[in-house]
């Protein structure tokens, strides 16, 4: 009795799920799972309807090739550091500069 009160009217070891369906007749069980199936189907249909009507995210492949631009970021400190080498490059290739 004390236990019943503490657990708010749900006996710890005697709730229906744990008790199983031992006290149901076969027919009752059949009806019950049928109802469950109908409910599940309704939920599925609702989800499908939402998908079709509004919440659908369309992902389409881009028509242009995906290009990943590497080395687009010029590091200024590197440009600064390369000054002497650049001068040498110009000196050694006067015909093209």
């Amino acid at each position: 009795m004390m236990l019943r009160e503490l657990t708010g009217g749900v006996p710890a070891a005697t709730n229906p799920a744990m008790k199983g369906r031992g006290d149901m007749t076969l027919q009752q069980e059949g009806q019950r799972s049928g109802r469950r199936a109908v409910r599940a189907a309704r939920v599925l249909m609702a989800a499908g309807a939402v998908g079709i009507l509004g919440g659908c995210v369309n992902v389409s492949a881009p028509d242009k090739p995906i290009v990943i631009e590497l080395n687009i970021n010029i590091r200024q400190e590197v440009v600064y550091r390369l000054d002497a080498q650049a001068a040498k490059t110009i000196e050694e290739n006067k015909d093209i500069f």
Binding site: I74, R75, D83, A86, I90, N93
Partner: protein
């Protein structure tokens, strides 16, 4: 007396040879460019860009366009080598060279400003890419 004159003759000859060498060296130093390239630069038909490559200013004869393409291909090859040697990117190496090339433009030659417009080099240093020494 005779020995002295021979000596002085020799000295004079060497001086002339040295002067010839010097002027020759100066000519090569100032201009290793082909006459066509030099002329196009002087005429402002081509100019230095901010990226280390040459640009064709406006519309120019096909020969000029082809020459610029050829020079830029050669420049890219040199930049690629330099980048590999200095563990930098081709773009970075090209930009570092652009810093020098823009600074080295002669008054009257053309350069491309960062906004893309072509300008004539005046007395002052042209605008250059960020990071230039």
């Amino acid at each position: 007396m005779t020995r002295l004159s021979i000596k002085s003759f020799k000295a004079a000859g060497m001086a002339v040879a040295a002067a010839l060498l010097a002027t020759g060296a100066v000519a090569v130093h100032a201009d290793g460019r082909s006459p066509e390239y030099s002329a196009a630069r002087a005429a402002g038909q081509v100019g230095e860009q901010q990226d280390g490559y040459l640009g064709v200013v406006g519309s120019q004869p096909q020969a000029i366009v082809a020459m610029v393409r050829d020079l830029n291909n050669k420049r890219r090859a040199v930049y690629t080598e330099g980048a590999a040697a200095s563990k930098s990117t081709v773009q970075e190496y090209a930009t570092a060279t652009a810093c020098r090339l823009l600074a080295d433009t002669k008054p009257g030659e053309k350069y491309q400003a960062p906004d893309g417009s072509w300008q004539v080099r005046g007395a002052s240093l042209p605008p250059r890419p960020a990071g230039c020494k």
